[in-house]
């Protein structure tokens, strides 16, 4: 299956990645090779099979609805790129 530079640009946008013209060409080639590898899957007859999402098939555990986390606001905000008065700062998004 082939993939165009425009397709690459759209996928990059969905993944919120910026991609230059040169990178688009390179990505289209590597995508073609990777999809060639992936498409080998189509040779297998899997109609009667259930998908396996997890190797160890167990149900998700439940626990009591209790507060287990302690307040680490200051520790967590110490590593933020920009913070002020306990708030994360980002570029203005609403005019």
């Amino acid at each position: 299956m082939s993939i165009s530079a425009d397709d690459i640009a759209y996928i990059a946008h969905l993944a919120r990645l910026q991609i230059s013209e040169a990178e688009k060409e390179e990505a289209a080639i590597s995508f073609k090779n990777i999809l060639g590898l992936i498409d080998q899957m189509q040779s297998a007859d899997t109609d009667q099979l259930e998908p396996l999402s997890h190797a160890i098939e167990t149900s998700q555990p439940l626990r009591e609805d209790l507060v287990t986390e302690k307040n680490q606001r200051d520790d967590l905000q110490m590593i933020a790129p920009k913070c002020e008065q306990g708030l994360y700062l980002v570029p203005k998004v609403i005019e």
């Binding site: 690459i8 996928i11 990059a12 969905l14 993944a15 919120r16 990645l17 910026q18 991609i19 990505a27 590597s30 995508f31 090779n33 990777i34 060639g36 590898l37 992936i38 498409d39 080998q40 899957m41 189509q42 040779s43 297998a44 899997t46 099979l49 259930e50 998908p51 396996l52 999402s53 997890h54 190797a55 160890i56 167990t58 998700q60 555990p61 626990r63 680490q72 520790d75 967590l76 110490m78 590593i79 933020a80 790129p81 920009k82 994360y88 980002v90 570029p91 998004v93």
Partner: protein, 482 residues
């Protein structure tokens, strides 16, 4: 002193031959001297390590001590360490200092084990050569022009060069076993869910598993004793009792039934590597095992299914890196979209971006059934292959990698060539079962790895088999000149 593994150092500490402070100081000095050529560490934890060593010595003097207390160790830089940078090999996390310890790290700290530093790795564990790291390639101690394997290449190079007696590592598609093979080490990937993933930076959550890179199976057992166990903080951690993984090491192998998959001995396999593996299999026959040819008929589909499932999970996991709460943030964004896009494009390297895009594509509307659901059905086929094989045999053996370590830069042109590096290891992750790679020979003075694959939760048996082989052979004691 530096030829020692964990067990030897633990015995020497117990006998009072040297203190933890002495051995830790000696390792730190050796790392500073030798690692310039290897680049196996991203961060050295000098002060922290010496404080841990002194505390271990004090506790030992008081008689309160774990078997491994005071023994130094390195952690792959994917495990969060409170107060010490955890980069995951990425510019995105170059400034990230976690406010907590991963459960694996916490378990070692509780045992009094000393953290020497954090080891280099492929960016977000995506790679088979340790060349995708933001911090540069790691060099193989056996030949510095060669890769150490990946993604746990820093952990493997550090242990092989005696810059740490052992190291933690992680394996999503072969990232413990392949570097173990390339560097002449014992590399154990436990059963999925055996070791907590909490605080271990996520790549592909249904495949990621923490394990060990060591100089022997005995050392791997000692490490697993500390690492394994149920963790309520990881909802995929399995609530099955652990055992003393050293307890069965000395059991004889009489009657062991070994399956030899024909698909792991086909044309892609280097002839000299194959000869070494065949010799190792003969050694097992001498130890009382019997060999039986088996088939894993869908194993050729494992790499293709993996390169849908792993990128799909990665694209979801890595969407968290948005530059808001931690990690890299771009300069002067013009609006929010520019902020996200430049933060992510500048913070991630080429291979990580490639896999995020492949995963985004596989999960996008119109392709989900053809790629993602299809890959999960292949995953079922692969698991069924192993289930059928284990009805007849106790373990499966073959080469870990089709060849020995390759030259740095030699496989970076086409990503698919690199993806096929893990052809013998990936199916094990898809099925969730445990695997171990052990040294089984040298080809042109480079190590060859034998992979042993077992049933779910058979770590104790795998370690027993590996240990018995290591009692009968000396491949695991071979070491590079450095």
């Amino acid at each position: 002193m530096f030829k020692s593994g964990l067990a030897d150092i633990a015995r020497s500490l117990a006998a009072g031959e040297f203190s933890s402070e002495e051995i830790t100081t000696a390792y730190l000095a050796r790392i500073k001297e030798k690692d310039k050529e290897l680049n196996s560490y991203i961060t050295l934890c000098e002060e922290h390590a010496l404080a841990q060593a002194k505390a271990a010595d004090n506790n030992r003097a008081k008689g309160e001590t774990h078997l491994l207390a005071g023994v130094p160790l390195a952690h792959k830089d994917i495990f969060c360490t409170s107060g010490v940078k955890t980069s995951c090999g990425s510019r995105m996390l170059d400034n990230f200092i976690a406010p907590y310890n991963a459960t694996v790290v916490e378990n070692f700290n509780q045992a009094g084990v000393v953290t020497l530093g954090k080891t280099n790795m492929d960016e977000f564990a995506m790679g088979s050569s340790n060349e995708t790291s933001y911090y540069g390639a790691v060099h193989n101690p056996w030949d510095k022009e060669l890769v150490p394997g990946g993604s746990s290449g820093g952990s493997a190079a550090a242990v092989a060069a005696h810059l740490s007696p052992a190291a933690t590592a992680t394996d999503t598609g072969g990232s413990i076993r392949q570097p173990a093979a390339f560097c002449g080490l014992t590399g154990l990937k436990p059963t999925y869910g055996r070791v907590s993933r909490w605080g271990m930076i996520a790549f592909a959550s249904s495949l990621d598993q923490a394990g060990t890179l060591t100089r022997s199976a005995e050392d791997a057992a000692l490490m697993l004793n500390v690492m394994a166990g149920h963790d309520p903080k990881d909802s995929t951690s399995i609530d099955i009792a652990t055992e003393d993984y050293t307890a069965n090491l000395n059991k004889p192998l009489e009657g062991l039934k070994i399956g030899i998959p024909i698909q792991h001995f086909t044309e892609g396999l280097n002839a000299e590597v194959e000869q070494n593996i065949r010799n190792a299999l003969s050694e097992f026959e001498k130890l009382g095992a019997t060999l039986k040819e088996i088939s894993l008929p869908n194993s050729h589909l494992s790499v293709s299914a993996y390169y849908v499932i792993a990128p799909a999970e990665a694209s979801a996991n890595l969407s968290r890196y948005d530059g808001v709460r931690y990690g890299y943030r771009c300069e002067d964004p013009k609006d929010l979209e520019d902020f996200y896009k430049r933060t992510r494009s500048e913070g991630f390297g080429t291979e990580v971006k490639r896999r995020i895009m492949v995963g985004t594509y596989a999960l996008s509307a119109g392709y989900y059934d053809a790629y993602y659901i299809k890959a999960q059905k292949i995953r079922r086929l692969i698991k069924n292959d192993f289930d059928a094989a284990f009805a007849d045999v106790d373990v499966i053996m073959g080469p870990t990698s089709p060849h020995t370590a390759f030259k740095i830069g030699s496989q970076s042109d086409d990503p698919v060539t690199m993806y096929l590096e893990d052809i013998y290891t990936i199916a094990v992750n898809l099925a969730g079962i445990p695997g171990i790679s052990i040294p089984a020979g040298l080809v042109n003075k480079l190590p060859v790895g034998l992979q042993i694959i077992g049933k779910n939760f058979s770590e104790s048996h795998l370690l027993n088999i590996a240990h018995q082989f290591q009692q009968a052979t000396d491949w695991h004691t071979q070491t590079p000149e450095i």
